[in-house]
Symmetry: C2
Subunit: 403 residues, 2 copies
Amino acid sequence: MSIERIFAKRTERMKASEIRELLKLLDDPSILSFAGGIPDPALFPAKDFADAMASIMQTGSNTALQYSVSEGYLPLREWIAGQMAKIGIPCETDNVLITSGSQQALDYLGKLFLSPGDTALVSWPTYMGALGAFNPYEPRYDQLSVDGNRAATDYAHEAKAAGGAVKFAYLSVDFANPTGETVDLRGREAALDMAEELDCAVIEDAAYQALRYDGQDVPPILALELARKGDLEACRTIYSGSFSKTLSPGLRVGWVVAAKPVISQLVLMKQASDLHSATLNQMAVHRVAEQRFDDHVANLRTVYGQRRDAMLAALTKHMPEGVQWTRPEGGMFVWLTLPAAMDGAELLVYALEHHKLAFVPGRAFFADRSGGNTLRLAFSCATEVMIEDGMSRLGAAIRETMT
Amino acid sequence: MSIERIFAKRTERMKASEIRELLKLLDDPSILSFAGGIPDPALFPAKDFADAMASIMQTGSNTALQYSVSEGYLPLREWIAGQMAKIGIPCETDNVLITSGSQQALDYLGKLFLSPGDTALVSWPTYMGALGAFNPYEPRYDQLSVDGNRAATDYAHEAKAAGGAVKFAYLSVDFANPTGETVDLRGREAALDMAEELDCAVIEDAAYQALRYDGQDVPPILALELARKGDLEACRTIYSGSFSKTLSPGLRVGWVVAAKPVISQLVLMKQASDLHSATLNQMAVHRVAEQRFDDHVANLRTVYGQRRDAMLAALTKHMPEGVQWTRPEGGMFVWLTLPAAMDGAELLVYALEHHKLAFVPGRAFFADRSGGNTLRLAFSCATEVMIEDGMSRLGAAIRETMT
């Protein structure tokens, strides 16, 4: 038999990602890789987690190893509510759901809003994991523009013509994966205006928010909406946060903050899909966050900020004429645009073979598979020496393949 | 705004479960509860997990706290492959996917197979978490009969008339939640025959398999199919296992064994929905399982077996004429059938108020919401004294409300 024959239609939209295939290369230690957008494990608060787990297992193992509620561990939800208040989003614990990383939040939000043929507005490029999370719900994508280039009526008209409605605008707001760019205040207000006019939700992916190296914090979209409306229950913005870029990705702990009807439905979804996020993990993240989240993040900012500086300096030094790149104020990524005639995937093949160098070609970040002449560089796991070496190799590879 | 208005249609099928609401009662220590189908935390291998985690955090924290592959932690997949071989299912690690508990496997399998209007065959009653997991994919349910009462053509005809096809038969095979009953060899072969004729998959939920207290092991359906076909890649049965009933539910570690095309698609699904199950948790489960899975399970069998015996004895002693119950050979549950005129939910209200006693009314386990005169009793967390007391209260409540 060929069991694929009876798979649901939605599986046609679920394909292997380039990043995933690329990550397999990281096992080859001879390759200098700027591909994986992962935190530097040397910066994990490992001792703090070890202590927290030892303490939890000594006094609370019956709780840590047992089933728990789908909403998440209450003390952690309380701590998160406190953090949210600091960034302009005072909320109750009932506005907070713990997820298994922010990837799960994106899956749930696709499941919550998207019927086949509905439209999701995303930037071109956008986080490819968001496209992966939404794809099983068979949406159509349209290119979100927050600079006033397109009117809400235009989006609505095309969504209707495609047989659905615009259900949400998805924005990775701070130092986005893959571009490293931040949606400025005007862009956030414009996204909100657009959502009001379309009567759709806004998904605010704030996974990198804590990792700012310079410049000024921009208020979250949810904070802006809350300032307009005065009541979180009247807000259409759904905020997704994560401990993956600050404390640990491997423990899989993230969160969603939204109006209670959204949280209630997501809780039912979580109950049906994996019951709850691992209890011990939530307890350990709570302890470490409570004890030293701010100190730890301050250290990350210093170290990653130096790497960002090193990468921007090395790009200036080594990139040939015609190559452009972003200047991120935080996060883990710089986004490179090659001359229009070049292709990032072809460059990768060449760079791997001739320079033992890896990065992520940009096309996979575009819902329409455009952007062939772009690529993503991650600086989070590279020392300054590696960055200088790597950008030198990249410059050579580009020059050698430029036509 | 009312954001529910733009939720996807599938959310209409996602409702709060009675069990969930009931579990909130467990916080009241004055209530004697047989409701929660959870392991006794006093039996958790807490010391072993504490040691495993301390060791992992000392030498492998960079791995334990970092992102890992969607397939799961390789040494754990290898250990599981070894266990599967012992029960007649020799397989490769590429046939094994780690999931966040078996609940996630059910969600993924619904997502893999079910388009709206497709048919899922389930027993009447069945695990309510399976209905919860499948519901978002908007299936139709039909009552699976493995005793030859209905022909495959009959199922196929009705599925087609409903606008879809039979995509799978779901069976909780050993000491099922909620009935405690086991599908015998003849039933398993019949399910397989039926699936062959319908050209559909079989989902074998083996969450309780390790917890047998007497009687003979029955080969898994996947082992029977493998014996027929000689090649796992030709098999349509998908086996779902869990560490939740043996080592710890709170760590959220389960697994799926199936042909590689199924596993490959599930890996893509996992990548898109939560990237991977928590790394530390998989490493810790691997260490504890490798060191003392069999010893630990032997102890569980002894303790839970005594509780099962105590409950059956107490039921014989306290139940009035007209009440029937199952005699499970393992697991955590006994299933009670009241006289036809009685209602389990009404009995619960009465028992809570007058006898401070809790259990789960049976209706939620029926896809057609029949079975009003049934209820589920869990003996896993009750001492023999509590069981004697509880069944005495239950007998009184039934007698007092019998008409």
